[in-house]
Amino acid sequence: MKKLSARRRHPLAALVVLLFALAATGGLYAAFAPAEKAQADSAQSLATEEGKRLYSVGCASCHGTSGQGTHNGPSLVGVGAAAVDFQVGTGRMPAQQPGAQVPRKKAIYNQAQIDQLAAYIASLGPGPAIPSKQQYSPDGADIANGGQLFRTNCAQCHNSTGKGGALSEGKFAPTLEGVDPKHIYEAMLTGPQNMPNFPDSTMPAKDKKDIIAYLAQVDSSKAESPGGLELGGLGPVSEGLFAWVFGLGALITVAIWVAARTAKARKS
């Protein structure tokens, strides 16, 4: 102890104290710092990193090297992870060719890659996040309210039972049959292509859930159709066409068949 106190005025004493203090602080931090958070952060940044790599290969030619957009594709800053999950998850992006509207097709990326892309795009600017299963699952929703909301907000383009319909100049509202509830939710949230969006501020999350439940009720393979033979459920045009072409055609065919066969004993 005497030795230590004798050298307390040594020119290097301050340095030694400083080193001890730094080591103690670092050691304490290592002991108490939330290790999991650090790991999650690095996983997140890894996903963003991977997403950026996928983006550079698959998306950057149209949307710009850092998502700023070019004349071939819009800016992706602030569109959010939900938009990426919808566009890439339904196969619309990457687009096959320019045109009036990019159609749904088989998804090119798997869900893990889509999540990485979404993480990268979400890092460019704040936007809607991918909804949780609890948000879009139709369990426990009010189907009748969903029907009313669907008719007010969606039916004008997507048809009253979600069969889809035509828009101007080659654009169309696609059918909603067989669409993943998650993607329906994301479409309402983000408004892909020419579809307007329906943010939570004007259409609360509960309403979106009700709409998804209504669609599951009327527009799925299990949907009940009391009349049967819906002919696509597209309304009077397809029904009239069917009645005039096939209904009347069948009557004419039967009439011709009856009259063409002679009842005479000797066939001429």
Partner: protein, 351 residues
């Protein structure tokens, strides 16, 4: 009458040879060729075949009876809500399907039976029934005309001019009473077509949540439907009021708005347009958020919401009416008055 009555000399080929193309007709070229010889059917010759036809017709009629009984039975048996899976129709109502099937069979079997009966058993001998002019004999005609002339003379119709004139007047006025009754077809619309429920200071209510809208609720690219404050879907006249007052609210970037008046009437790029097409009044809200076009599903009229609701395609005759909006002291969107022009389709007195 049979084929033997016809001379082959009348055929063009024969005449060619006989007269070297001379046009002189031989006999009457329009002579009635008569009916072809009657051919019997198997049922006419063979009694066993005829019996089989009889049984077939009876079977069809019996099938119809069974189907009708089945119709009544299915009406009684199946509850209204019962859904069954039937390929290829899918999940259909058991009641509807059974009723349609049995009634269809019942009607078809009657028709098929009648056709089969007529074709195989009823007489199929061709019988000509010649037409004759329909005219009364000269004596009868003469008598009728004489009676009419005598009647005119005895009634003094030609002599007493006053009676004739007043009778004509009476007969021509009587139908007027029928025309006057058409007044009861309904009261005139008066000012109803020119005004809607919107008034200055009325807040815009979100149709989804029934809450008043704030400007910050409405993002660029979103679509919202609004109704006037104080109007409830349970109101007796809700449909009549909303049919004129329905609004669609969208937000554009203010620099995208090409029309000066539209920009003035908007609030920070939020514009409120009538949802009723100016062609025949269909509800239009097929809004494309990238082009700002609104399409009417009835006749494809297209309006440009970034250019004062101008018609850019289709039969609509007027731009879509815009509602002037602003924000009140509490920060809610409110109307600054009614629409400046009548909403919906044109009408005679619109001007």
């Amino acid at each position: 009458m049979s084929n033997e009555d016809m001379s082959e000399a009348n055929l063009p080929s024969e005449r060619e040879h006989a007269h070297h193309g001379a046009v002189e007709p031989v006999g009457d070229p329009f002579a009635d060729p008569g009916l072809p010889p009657h051919e019997p059917r198997r049922q006419d010759i063979d009694e066993r075949t005829a019996r089989r036809s009889e049984r077939t017709v009876a079977l069809l009629f019996t099938l119809s009876m069974v189907a009708t009984v089945g119709f009544i039975a299915s009406y009684v048996i199946f509850p209204i809500g019962k859904i069954v899976y039937i390929f290829p129709f899918g999940h259909v109502s058991a009641l509807n399907f059974a009723l349609g099937l049995t009634l269809g069979v019942a009607l078809f079997a009657i028709g098929a039976g009648a056709v089969h009966w007529a074709r195989t058993l009823m007489s199929d001998e061709e019988v000509p029934d010649e037409r004759h002019a329909i005219e009364a004999t000269p004596e009868v005609r003469e008598k009728v005309f004489a009676d009419f002339r005598q009647g005119v003379k005895e009634s003094q119709f030609g002599r007493r001019r006053l009676i004739r004139t007043t009778m004509m007047g009476a007969l021509s006025l009587v139908p007027l009473s029928g025309i006057v009754l058409l007044r009861d077809l309904g009261p005139l619309p008066e000012k109803k077509l020119r005004t809607t429920a919107w008034r200055a200071g009325m807040r815009l209510i979100n149709q989804n949540t029934n809450e008043p809208l704030r400007p910050e609720d409405i993002g660029v690219g979103s679509l919202t439907f609004a109704k006037p404050e104080g109007l409830s879907e349970d109101d007796e006249n809700f449909q009549n009021v909303i049919a004129k007052a329905a609004l669609m609210i969208v937000r554009l970037n203010p620099q995208d708005i090409k029309d000066k008046r539209e920009l003035e009437w908007s609030h920070q790029g939020i514009v409120a347009y009538s949802k009723i097409c100016t062609h025949v009044g269909c509800p239009i809200s097929l809004y494309e958020q990238q082009t700002h076009h609104v399409l009417c599903p009835c006749h494809q009229s297209t309006f440009d919401l970034s250019d004062g609701g101008r018609v850019i395609f289709g039969p609509a005759g007027h731009a879509l009416p815009q509602l002037r909006i602003s924000v009140n002291a509490q920060g809610y969107l409110e109307a600054l008055g009614d629409f400046e022009e009548p909403v919906g389709p044109s009408f005679w007195e619109r001007g």
